[in-house]
């Protein structure tokens, strides 16, 4: 027994020793470098999100370093994986702030993990920019927490004005998922804006996540004869809803939010998905020069098309570095003010201005699904104005606006 006692104690001591020593080494600031921290879900349930955001951020920072860095220094991105777990996010943020002494954080796609890491960043007065947490509460944590994606209600507003103006709809039906805050938020915003702009919401039906049969709801929607149906849900159910709607002979346009975005959505039902639209953060087909430049560089580096998360990661890193340049220092308070002052930043996900609530005011992209492929249809500005329009989804009508 004594032998095992010493063996085990040795293992524990050794692990603790590596733990302590490895951290000490990293803690030393590397002279002329600016250290930016990033915590993302590189593994676990939402690994695809974390990996895309990380790839986008890496691309942005490589570009800046190749261009000579900022304020005379090179940028080092310290990335920590949180395994898609909240408690791991807590530890990762603590490590980045206290051991690696990062001056700012890029962090988390999932709102739940932004809410776990955010309070720590706020307490330590380290600015944090979330690339893609859309839940309204995230930036309410404190004045050091920012986001560069739009929040949920904005999507509902934008889709309502798209339905009214571009699709010419007068009668809309809404089919919402009563179990998801996301869906309820989008539906409420859509209803309000659509009515305000003179339209009529003729039918409101509900389902719950996990349902498989939507025919009764769809039949009663069909009876009211709407011009458009808004289905703010996640792709798992939407994929079935659209199939069943088309089987019931509903041919009107169907609309949805970014919850639709998935490779799984249209599988095996490419034809049924024609004449459907969804809102998203970004489109690889956007004719904007900055977007095309980004797509080319991303493809060259990672051999694949960037998705919305990669674009958001890229923009988040660039907004941060631009703010460091404007602040002229890495002092936390100055940097915070510089990020808060971000105005008309020309990002690949659109022109971004951060408002007083530290949320992004930016355009939204509407995509049209044609034979299972997403095509750029329109870009709608923060106040509901049409910025870029591809009426039919193939030819540009106006040049990239403003």
């Amino acid at each position: 027994m004594n032998k095992y006692f010493s063996v085990v104690t040795a293992v524990v001591v050794l692990t603790s020793a590596t733990f302590l020593s490895s951290c000490k080494k990293e803690g030393v600031a590397e002279g002329n470098d600016i250290i930016i921290g990033e915590y993302a879900s590189m593994t676990g349930q939402t690994a695809t999100f974390g990996q895309s955001v990380h790839a986008g951020a890496v691309l942005a920072i490589d570009e800046i370093n190749q261009g000579g860095g900022i304020i005379g220094k090179k940028i080092v991105l310290k990335s920590e994986d949180d395994q898609s777990k909240t408690e791991d996010a807590t530890a990762a943020v603590q490590k980045l702030i206290n051991r690696d002494k990062v001056i700012a954080l890029l962090g988390e796609v999932a709102s739940s993990r932004s809410k776990a890491g955010g309070p720590i960043a706020q307490q330590s007065k380290i600015p944090m920019i979330s690339p893609a947490s859309t839940n309204e509460d995230v930036t309410k944590i404190g004045d050091y927490i920012f986001r560069i994606c739009f929040i949920d209600p904005f999507q509902g507003n934008a889709l309502a004005s798209f339905a009214k103006k571009s699709l010419g709809a007068k009668r809309a039906a809404v089919l919402q998922d009563t179990k998801q805050d996301y869906s309820i938020g989008l539906a409420n915003a859509f209803r309000e804006t659509f009515r305000k702009s003179g339209g009529d919401v003729v039918s409101e039906q509900a389902y719950s996540s996990g349902d498989k049969d939507f025919r009764s709801a769809l039949t009663s929607i069909r009876a009211t004869n709407p011009d458009v149906i808004f289905i703010p849900g996640y792709y798992n159910e939407v994929s079935l809803i659209v199939r069943q709607a088309r089987e019931l002979g509903i041919t009107v346009p169907l609309l949805g939010g970014d919850g639709w975005d998935s490779d799984e959505l249209t599988k095996g039902a490419e034809q049924q998905f024609n004449n459907t639209y969804l809102s998203n953060h970004f489109s690889v087909e956007d004719p904007d020069a900055a977007v095309q430049n980004f797509v080319t560089k991303y493809k060259a580096k990672f051999q694949k098309d960037p998705d919305a998360m990669a674009a958001l990661g890229y923009d988040a890193a660039r907004i941060l570095t631009q703010a460091i340049t404007r602040a002229g220092s890495t002092d936390a308070a100055k940097l915070r003010d510089a990020i808060a002052a971000t105005k008309d930043f020309n990002g690949v996900t659109g022109k971004i201005t951060l408002n007083a609530q530290r949320n992004a005011e930016k355009p939204i992209t509407i995509l049209k699904i044609v034979n299972g492929k997403y095509h750029f249809a329109q870009r709608i500005g923060p106040n509901g104005e049409t910025q870029t329009d591809f009426k039919t989804g193939d030819t540009p009508v106006t040049a990239p606006a403003k």
Partner: protein, 325 residues
């Protein structure tokens, strides 16, 4: 030395240490707190899996019940007059943890009575199922009192920060002391009898189902308290914190430490909490290395780090060996 004295000394040491926690790097502090919580979780599961020989895969479910119920209690109390400013938040935390622990124990009783008639693999699957049921129920609960949102379904629940070094390690110590004393009491032999040979135990007049349910309820009680400590430390809980993967993490601590060895289980909890942090340097590969280390350790020590050796017996043996020399 009498065990009571040892535990009293350790407790005094903890109070001393808690005075300097403000000076520890917050990152180390986070890891240390997670170690303490994991010790409580693993020690309590060890009573069920190690000492009583019932294979439960639902410990995270009870942890979740404790976490949510204690968070509801503390949120309610802090918004109804008993804020954190009253005696440094000690009464709020004490009530919250107790309520959380009792709720988890009740859930343990409800789960235990029907399912503990099953054995081995079957019990494992049933407890796994209950873990998922608890998680899905939490996912669909959401209510408001006086405009403040509670539980929050899948969105998650913001919790006040009340856990401290002394709370976490004080409770870990209580859990260790309780389990150790229980097992070494005349009464506690019943648990070991159930594990060693159920038929023989029954023949000797041990009411096996009753013992199993008791182990389950006590284990769940401490799991609930552990969950309460966890919630009040990370300040933001979602149902995803309490999936069966979390259960498996705790089961690994018990098996690696040695089924039925409190000392081994504590060491395993420390080791398995530090290891993923120490391996952060390897970024994406860290979980691969972590798993490889687990495999190597299990091959080298299939009976666990300390076999079924108990804390007190381990030191008694050392003493005997020392006396011989």
């Amino acid at each position: 030395m009498r065990p009571q004295l040892i535990f009293a000394l350790i407790f005094a040491g903890l109070i001393g240490l808690s005075l300097v926690t403000g000076k520890i790097d917050p990152y180390y502090y986070t890891v240390i707190i997670f170690i303490g919580i994991n010790i409580t979780m693993a020690t309590s599961l060890n009573l069920i899996n190690g000492f009583t020989g019932q294979f439960s895969l639902g410990h995270a479910g009870f942890m979740g019940v404790g976490a949510y119920v204690s968070a509801i209690a503390s949120t309610f109390l802090t918004t109804h007059g008993l804020g954190t400013e009253v005696m440094g938040g000690v009464p709020v935390m004490a009530i919250a943890l107790l309520v959380g622990g009792l709720a988890a124990a009740l859930t343990g009783l409800a789960v235990g009575i029907p399912s503990l008639r099953l054995k081995g693999d079957y019990l494992a699957i049933v407890t796994l199922g209950f873990n998922e049921i608890i998680r899905v129920i939490i996912q669909n609960v959401d209510f408001k009192i006086d405009g403040i949102s509670y539980v929050g379904g899948a969105r998650g629940f913001a919790v006040p920060q009340l856990s401290s070094f002394l709370w976490v390690f004080g409770i870990a110590l209580v859990a260790i002391y309780f389990v150790e004393n229980l097992i070494n009491s005349t009464y506690g032999r019943g648990f070991l009898a159930v594990r060693d040979d159920e038929v023989a135990a029954e023949a000797m007049g041990v009411h096996t189902t009753r013992f199993k349910v008791r182990a389950f309820v006590i284990g769940s009680f401490f799991a609930g308290i552990g969950g309460g400590l966890f919630a009040h430390f990370i300040q933001y809980i979602t149902p995803d914190n309490f999936t069966f993967l979390k259960s498996i993490e705790i089961v690994v601590m018990v098996i690696l430490g040695g089924m039925g060895s409190t000392y081994g289980v504590i060491l395993a909890a420390i080791l398995l909490t530090i290891m993923p942090e120490a391996l952060r340097e390897f970024s994406e590969y860290r979980m691969i290395i972590y798993s490889l280390m687990l495999i190597v350790l299990m091959i080298a020590r299939p009976q666990g780090l300390f076999g079924s050796e108990t804390f007190t017996r381990f030191f008694a043996k050392r003493k005997a060996a020392a006396n011989k020399v």
